[in-house]
């Protein structure tokens, strides 16, 4: 593994030992199966203990893990006949956002997603998943098409936030995000939003007005990055750990707050450990939710979506 998180060190040390034993056993022709099994069990235990007790900041780190599968991975593994569609028909094609049509369980769907790169080079090209207005406008275009052809929309969320740059402001970042939210609120086909990594701020919400909001076990979703929160409220961006706790950013927090509807389990050690299993689990959750939504009349669907977002923040009748 090229990128090991600080708190994963104990696991990594065990894994290095296991690898050494394997190599030694192979080269010298000595059977070390028992020793290796013991160490493997130990590694599993340690991983279970660590991953069962993650704090909010550790979750942020996993959500941002450079090896965490990006939206393309899920698209490739979950959809057949996927055709990527490009451009907003106004300005350009934003590589931070991907979208297209394909089949899910044989059923035609529209997919929109934020797209982080898999390495530095790709991340530079994809602007680290931080979209410009044209990215949101591409998604809006595809969602309206989905409505026209009565296809459900699957939206993957994975962005630190909308890009804060000059061009983005000149071309109406605010307007693009607002229109995306409006488009989703009014869309007459089922929408499932899945947070697969980092859900950052308005840029994430632009794909987040779904009939169902699913979050992977170690995904996070917040109004601003913990660093931003710490630096604005406490004038100290190094207090990011505290900020992550204070803001309630984890999937578990959001389920409790009624923002997320369901947590999609990840393989032990995070989605990047076993991406295929992770994709399988996302697929199962999508299937179950889509089956519930497909039969619902469009008027009722939109009315229910309205009710859902209308009640956001009204916890236990906090308001009157």
């Amino acid at each position: 593994m090229s990128a090991t998180l600080e708190f994963e060190r104990p696991i990594q040390e065990l894994e290095i030992k296991i690898d050494e034993l394997r190599k030694f056993s192979r080269e010298k022709g000595i059977d070390l199966t028992n020793e290796i099994t013991i160490l493997e069990n130990r590694a599993r235990e340690v991983r279970g203990a660590i991953y069962g007790n993650l704090n909010s900041w550790q979750k942020v780190l996993i959500a941002r893990h450079p090896e965490r599968p990006n939206a393309y991975y899920y698209i490739k593994n979950l959809f057949t006949d996927f055709i990527e569609l490009h451009g907003d028909r106004c300005f350009r094609d934003d590589p931070s956002v991907a979208g297209g049509i394909g089949r899910f369980n044989g059923y035609p769907v529209t997919v929109i997603s934020h797209l982080k790169g898999k390495d530095t080079k790709e991340n530079l090209a994809r602007n680290f998943g931080m979209a410009h207005p044209e990215g949101y406008r591409k998604a809006i275009r595809l969602m309206k098409q989905a409505e026209k052809f009565k296809r459900p929309v699957i939206a993957f969320i994975d962005t630190p936030g909308a890009y804060p740059g000059m061009g983005a402001e000149e071309r109406g970042q605010s307007e693009a995000i607002a229109k995306s939210i409006l488009t989703m609120a009014a869309l007459r086909v089922p929408i499932i939003s899945v947070v697969i990594g980092e859900g950052g701020s308005g840029g994430a919400l632009a794909f987040g007005v779904g009939d169902r909001i699913l979050m992977q076990e170690h995904a996070v979703y917040s109004v601003i990055t913990p660093e931003g929160y710490a630096s604005i409220l406490w004038k100290d961006s190094s207090r990011n750990r505290e900020a992550a706790e204070a803001m309630k950013v984890t999937a578990q927090d959001l389920l409790a707050l009624g923002v997320a509807d369901q947590i999609v389990p990840e393989p032990l050690g995070g989605a990047h450990r076993e991406p295929e299993t992770a994709a399988d689990l996302v697929g199962k959750a999508l299937t179950a939710n889509l089956n519930e939504l497909l039969g619902i009349d469009a008027d009722i669907l939109v009315a229910n979506r309205y009710k859902k977002f209308r009640a956001m923040g009204n916890l236990d009748g906090l308001i009157e």
């Binding site: 402001e169 109406g172 605010s174 229109k179 609120a185 919400l205 007005v209 204070a246 309205y306 009204n314």
Partner: protein, 283 residues
């Protein structure tokens, strides 16, 4: 480098000289742009706009309502609705208390119904003296209720936006207020009702990226700062200084994101004209 932007300048505490009794406090104000000393009653009479240079001082919610609606017609809605502290943070509680004291308001948004040159409207006004009019759960709730009142009462809606964005202290719940208010606007849209969005200084972040951007007609006040990302954040990202006038009302108009820039002294008559052009079932 990042931290420097956020570091507060330190000042030495100085005992103020006793103020002469003949001049009551606040009788004069200095223009923020041209430094002209203005008699404050004179300023109020001119809608808080400097007569010399046209600088628009920020207006409080009730000042705005007085400037906009016909006298005695305003009926406030949800006046007693208090902000919530969903994560029971002591720090946030303190800020809320301080904001209430400073602004005299229960929340950053004042909503209600009234008449504008005789036209019945629903009005929403954000007040930046209250925590920079950030949008939390209750601010979002009040706005959504006002939009619903416009739908039900079949009245045009006017929102005067001013905000630093989402209220971070309420975490993800404040972000969701963007979706809540926008979804409510969809109902207004389907009801065929007029929505005029007036952007005042400053309209940024989550508010700029939700209901404020969705007016049938979008008006901005001269010089108002309007944008998604904060200027410091952009400067840190692109590592250069932003040009003069960036994210100002005039910049947004030239880029096609607001319909018109209207001086505050002309705003009421402009709104009335627009309302009249949207009268239904007549002529």
């Amino acid at each position: 480098m990042v931290l420097e932007f956020f570091r507060k300048q330190k000042y030495i505490a100085v005992q103020p000289e006793p103020v002469s009794r003949d001049i009551p406090e606040g009788i004069w104000v200095k223009c923020g742009r041209c430094n002209e000393i203005i008699f404050s009653k004179e300023l109020d009479k001119n809608c808080k706009v400097c007569r010399k240079c046209g600088f628009h001082f920020r207006a409080s919610a009730y000042e705005r309502i007085a400037m906009t609606l016909d006298e005695g017609t305003f009926k406030e809605m949800d006046v007693d609705m208090l902000p919530v502290n969903p994560f029971q943070s002591a720090e946030y509680e303190e800020k809320l208390q301080a904001a209430r004291k400073k602004s005299g308001l229960n929340e950053a948004v004042v909503t209600g119904e009234g008449a504008l040159q005789g036209f019945e409207v629903v009005i929403v006004v954000m007040d930046s003296t209250y925590m920079m009019a950030s949008m939390g759960t209750v601010a979002g709730e009040k706005i959504a209720r006002a939009i619903e009142a416009a739908v039900e009462g079949q009245k045009p809606l006017i929102i005067f936006s001013a905000s630093g964005g989402a209220r971070m202290q309420e975490g993800i719940l404040s972000l969701m207020q963007m979706a809540k208010t926008v979804a409510a606007l969809d109902k207004l849209e389907k009801a065929g009702q007029l929505y005029i969005s007036v952007l005042t200084d400053p309209t940024t972040g989550g508010v700029s990226a939700s209901f404020a951007a969705l007016g049938d007609i979008i008006i901005a006040e001269p010089g108002a700062l309007i944008g998604f990302a904060g200027q410091r954040v952009i400067e840190q990202t692109i590592r250069q200084k932003l040009p003069e006038g960036f994210q100002r009302a005039e910049f947004l108009k030239s880029h096609g994101f607001v319909d018109m820039i209207v001086a505050r002294t002309e705003l009421k008559s402009t709104l009335a004209k627009i309302l009249e052009l949207h009268l239904r079932g007549e002529n």
